[in-house]
Symmetry: C2
Subunit: 262 residues, 2 copies
């Protein structure tokens, strides 16, 4: 039987609130089984951009990473957030190692084609080196990835953290029984985004398509759920979306994503 591994993506406003982030990190550090953390950038990159006088460009709800934005993105993602997260995890007894895809050539990507839309310095994942990840996990090290990869020719590229998490879970499924958790501030996928009592406990692809069609699932939740279904279609064992309480094994919470109901 394969060992289990948890791939946890955390982001959104969870990362912007220091108290909530520290609570999340304490819970994450307490998980005994092998684990990997992937974190988003929160609002810090946009905040720094504004301070530096840059105006973010958004196309179809997605941010463009210009040549001027890229250094700020690298500074906040790989510098400030990643290293503060690593230092905090170390203080909670978790032997964290902060990473971009460039480090030890873990995750290679290629710059997204500029047509039909030019998103700038954004990378689509090409390959993941699972052997080095396995060696680190065997040493008791917990990899902590920020949302950056590289093209192998010296170029760092901004890469969606949800996608990195899903692709890590897929890449590792030969070696482990992989479980993918998307941690947000909200308790999971909600029928009404303002009402946390409207939590959907189990969501299959058919229901997802219906809710998307009715605009009950929209904006950022759509690419997140696309990553969830891609993971399940590629043999990731279990996918859940929810808040920090997801990390406690004793109380199953959140929205369990499944391909189809039996």
């Amino acid at each position: 039987m394969k060992d289990k591994i948890l791939i946890v993506k955390a982001g959104g406003s969870l990362i912007d609130c220091e108290a909530k982030w520290q609570h999340f990190l304490k819970e994450f550090a307490a998980i005994k089984k092998p684990k990997i953390l992937v974190h988003g950038g929160g609002k810090s990159a946009s905040a720094l951009s504004k301070k530096m006088g840059l105006t973010p460009r958004i196309i179809h709800g997605r941010r463009v990473t210009t040549l001027e934005d890229l250094p700020l993105v690298i500074m906040t993602f790989a510098g400030l957030i990643n290293k503060k997260t690593v230092a905090a995890l170390q203080s909670y007894g978790c032997n964290a190692l902060g990473l971009t895809g460039a480090d030890a050539n873990c995750i290679r990507s290629s710059k997204r084609p500029t047509t039909p839309i030019d998103y700038g310095y954004v990378g689509d994942i090409v390959s993941i080196d699972t052997s080095v990840l396995l060696q680190w996990l065997n040493l008791g090290i917990t990899p902590v990835f920020c949302a950056l990869t590289h093209d192998g020719h010296g170029q760092i590229l901004n890469t969606n953290a949800d996608t990195i998490a899903a692709q890590l879970a897929i890449a590792l499924h030969d070696l482990f029984e992989t479980e993918l958790l998307y941690c947000l501030e909200k308790p999971g996928v909600l029928l009404d985004s303002e009402d946390s009592d409207s939590l959907i406990k189990t969501l299959d692809y058919y229901q997802y398509e219906k809710l998307k069609h009715n605009h009950q699932i929209h904006s950022g939740m759509i690419p997140k759920l696309t990553n969830c279904f891609t993971a399940l279609q590629n043999d990731v064992k279990k996918v859940t979306i929810g808040d920090t309480s997801l990390l406690r094994e004793d109380c199953p919470t959140g929205t369990r994503i499944i391909l189809k109901k039996d």
Copy 2:
């Protein structure tokens, strides 16, 4: 017989000139034996501070790292410089892994006492985990350290890159025959800092004390040379200061530092 390892510190204006830095990284990547790179911050942290409206505080020629400076230092050292360096080294065929002392708990430090001078969030090295470094080196990974450590309680601390390099060389001398190189833009220790023909080829402690007394060696070269002599007193095999040509084994250049002349 022990294997050899090179610990290379690079910094100063070498890091601020993109063409010179890429040349250095190409030469560094080409070194076949096990190696570790430690890089300084160049002028980028000060430049960012100024853009953010902060005024650097200098006491006795040393910069104070205030609570406001620390995030900028982390962003530039661990983010921008470290990750661009890693991505460039990867493109030159060197399997680099970017690190702070917090990553995998490599280098622990304690915050420097605030008396007689309060330098702020500055750390003095307490311990180095050589076992994890050895495991990485055995995997063909080249550690690339920036000038940051942690106290194990969640606090990242600014730590002099010259000292990190010397302490790494000392910590590794049980496992390797260690050689320490300080790479600058200048060809080595000069009798007249404006005249590169005034290179001192070999410098021992007696001569150093004499030149320091006569103010021929001054400012930043003093703490650098203190690190050199500390390394030699603690069984580091060879210590040299010079420019990028130091990295070529076929042409010995720079200033060789020794404890005393035979």
